[in-house]
Symmetry: C2
Subunit: 369 residues, 2 copies
C-alpha cells in the first residue's frame, strides 16, 4: 500500500504545489491516445495554450518530456550542423542552451550577462548583426538568477536579421502574460511544474509558421525522431495520426491546470504573483536577505536572495534541510556560480499567496531569531 509521504510546501524553483482539482484530473481513469474523446481534450488543451502564449500558431503543442525536452525540441528542429546561433547567457539555463546547440553541431556565439542582470539589447544586437545567425535564443525568466529578460528589443533585431527567435518560457508561463505573436517569437517552450502548478513531465511549446517552414526545409533530417516537428504535426495537427503514445493522464491534468489559469484571468494571476513577491521581500528584509536582482528586473515568481551572514556561516544547506525536515518547506539553493551564495524562493502558481509567504517567514524567524 502507498505509504504516507511527507507533505511539502514547495517554495523552490519548481515544482510548485498542485491544486486538488488538478490532482483529481490526473487520477481520472485513462482514455486511449487515439480515442475521439481524448482528441477533444487535446483540442481544448491546444486552444488554451495558444491563448496563454498569446499566439495563433497552429503548431502549439504539449511535448512529451520536461522543460529540458522542450529546449531540445526547439534546437533539434531549427538548428542544423554548421548553423550559426547567437545565445544570450544570463544564467545556467542560457548556458544549457549553448550546450544543447553545440551538441547539434551549431556554431554558437555567446552573449554573456553578469548573473543577476539581464542581457543588454545592444550587446545582443551587436552579435546578431555581426554573426547573421540562423537563430537567436535566450531565456525569458532565468530560473537560476531570478531575472526577467525583456523580449521585444532582441526579438526585433533578430527578425530584421532574418533569424528565428527561440525563447525559454519555462518559469514565466502562467505567472507573467506572454505575447509571442506581438513580440515576434518563433519557437518557445515551457514546463508544467512552475507557474501552471501541474506536475512536471510536459513541455508546452509553440512554433511559428516560419519555424515550421524551417523545420520542413532542412538540409538534413532532424536527428531526433521523438521530437521531430514534421512527425509530431501528424498527431498534434488535424489528422491525429499515431506518432508516439501521448502521456494521456498528464495531458488531462494540464488541461485542468490551464482552465484554472483562465478562470482566474492571466492579469489577475500575474498581479497575485507580484503581490506575493513583494510581501516576501518585505518580510525577509529584516532577516537580512537581500535581493540579488535590481528592482526593475526582478521576476515575481522567483526571488533570488543573497544570504544573511548568519545563514552563510552556519551553512545554508543545513538550514534548507532544517526547513524541509521541521516545517516541510522546500526552498532552492543557488545553481552554478551562485551555489552557496543565494537562495531561490519560488512563489509559483498555487503558491503565490500571502499565506504561503507567512508560513516561510514564520519558520525562518523561528530558526534565525
Amino acid at each position: 500500500m502507498e505509504p504516507v509521504r511527507p507533505r511539502r510546501l514547495l517554495l523552490g524553483p519548481g515544482p510548485s504545489n498542485v491544486h486538488p482539482r488538478v490532482l483529481r484530473a490526473l487520477a481520472q481513469p485513462l482514455m486511449g491516445h487515439l480515442d475521439p474523446a481524448f482528441f477533444r481534450v487535446l483540442e481544448e488543451l491546444q486552444a488554451r495554450l495558444r491563448r496563454l502564449f498569446g499566439t495563433g500558431n497552429s503548431m502549439t503543442l504539449p511535448l512529451s518530456g520536461t522543460g529540458s525536452a522542450g529546449m531540445e525540441a526547439c534546437f533539434v528542429n531549427l538548428v542544423e550542423p554548421g548553423d550559426r546561433v547567437v545565445i544570450g547567457v544570463a544564467g545556467v539555463f542560457g548556458e544549457r542552451m549553448c550546450e544543447v546547440a553545440r551538441r547539434l553541431g551549431a556554431e554558437v556565439t555567446r552573449v554573456v550577462a553578469e548573473p543577476g542582470t539581464p542581457l543588454s539589447d545592444d550587446a545582443m544586437a551587436e552579435a546578431i548583426l555581426r554573426v547573421s545567425p540562423a537563430a537567436v535564443a535566450f531565456v525569458h525568466a532565468e530560473t537560476s538568477t531570478g531575472v526577467c529578460q525583456p523580449v521585444e528589443g532582441i526579438a526585433r533585431t533578430a527578425r530584421e536579421a532574418g533569424a528565428l527567435l527561440i525563447l525559454d518560457c519555462v518559469t514565466s508561463l502562467g505567472g507573467l502574460p506572454l505575447a509571442f505573436d506581438e513580440w515576434g517569437v518563433d519557437a518557445a517552450y515551457s514546463a508544467t511544474q512552475k507557474c501552471l502548478s501541474c506536475p512536471p513531465g510536459l513541455a508546452p511549446a509553440s512554433f511559428s509558421e516560419r519555424a515550421v517552414e524551417r523545420a520542413r526545409r532542412r538540409r538534413t533530417p532532424v536527428p531526433s525522431w521523438y521530437l521531430d516537428l514534421n512527425l509530431l504535426a501528424g498527431y498534434y495537427g488535424s489528422e491525429r495520426v499515431y506518432h508516439h503514445t501521448a502521456p494521456v493522464s498528464m495531458l488531462v491534468a494540464l488541461v485542468e491546470a490551464l482552465r484554472m489559469v483562465e478562470e482566474e484571468g492571466m492579469e489577475e494571476r500575474a498581479e497575485r504573483h507580484r503581490a506575493a513577491a513583494a510581501a516576501l521581500l518585505q518580510g525577509l528584509a529584516p532577516l537580512g536577505f537581500e535581493p540579488l536582482v535590481a528592482a526593475p528586473h526582478r521576476l515575481p515568481m522567483l526571488s533570488a536572495l543573497r544570504l544573511p551572514a548568519a545563514v552563510a556561516s552556519a551553512g545554508e544547506a543545513a538550514l534548507r534541510r532544517q526547513l524541509l525536515e521541521k516545517y516541510g518547506i522546500e526552498v532552492g539553493g543557488g545553481l552554478g556560480p551562485l551555489a552557496g551564495r543565494i537562495w531561490r524562493i519560488g512563489l509559483m502558481g498555487e503558491n503565490a499567496r500571502l499565506t504561503t509567504v507567512e508560513a516561510l517567514i514564520t519558520a525562518l524567524r523561528r530558526e534565525l531569531g
Copy 2:
C-alpha cells in the same frame, strides 16, 4: 470543473487500464525532485526495475519520456555517426529503430521477417558476422504483429561479434519474465502503459556496464543533452545531482505499479496473461477471428487477429468505433502494412483477466451475431 469523461475498457495495444491504487499514487501531493524523501522513492523504483528486468545493472532508470524516447535514448547514446548497426525488422517498431538509427548517421543493415513471424536466428547471425556491427537491435514483443521474439540466440551471436545488444521490451515488461543479464542484453527500454498498467509517459530502461562504458568513450558528444546517459548518471546514480526536473508524480505512480507486479509475482502474472490470451482466442474463433501468428510465437499480452469476412467487408474501423461508442471498449487496428487487415487486442496488466475477455466477446457476439 472536470467534466465526466467516458469510461473505457482499454483492449488495444496500450495504454491499458490503470488500477485505482496506481491512480491514487499518481494523485498524491507533490514532492520536489531533490527531496530526500523522493530519493527514497527513486531508490525503491530503481531496485524494483532491476528485479523485473532481471539485471544487476546500476544504470537502470526511468527515462522522462514515453517508450519511443526510450528507443531514442538507447541509439543516441550507443551509436555514433558511421557506426554499423544490424537491426531486425519484424514489424513497425523494428522499422522505427532503423529510422532512429539512420537519423543519427548510422549505417543500418536491416534483417527482415515476414509480418507475423519472428526474425530468424540464422539470418541475424549471417548479417552480424558479415557486417561486424557496433550494435545489434531488435524488438522482444513486436506490438504491431503480436510476435514474441526469442532473444538468447541473437544475443549470443552479438556478444561473440563484440556488438552491443539493444532490446525493445515496451510490450513485454510486466507480462513476460525478463532476464537481461542471463540473455546478455546491453541496453533495453520499455514503457509504463502496457503490462505495467501505469499511465504512459515514462520509459524504464537499463544499460549494462559495457553500454555505459561505450557511452563514456564516444568519439563524438551524445547529440541529445536530454537523454545523455553520462549526464543522467548524475541524478540516477548515487550523487542525485540535478539534471532535469524528474516527472515526480509519474514516478510515484510507477513505483506503486511495480509494487503490484512484485506482490502478484512475475510468474503468476505471466500465467494470468497466458490464460487470458487463450480464453480470448478460444472465444473469438467461433466469430471467425484467426490468429496472425503461429502458436509458438504468439505474445500473450497482444493478439493479432485476422478479421472475419463480415468485419472486413463492413469496414473494420466502423466496428471498432461501434465498440468504443456503444460498449466503451477500445481495440486496436493494424499498423503499417497490416492496417485494415488485422485487429490488435491487448490483454495487458490489469486487463489480462477472464472478465475482460468476456466483456469483449459478449459485445462482439452482439454486433456480429
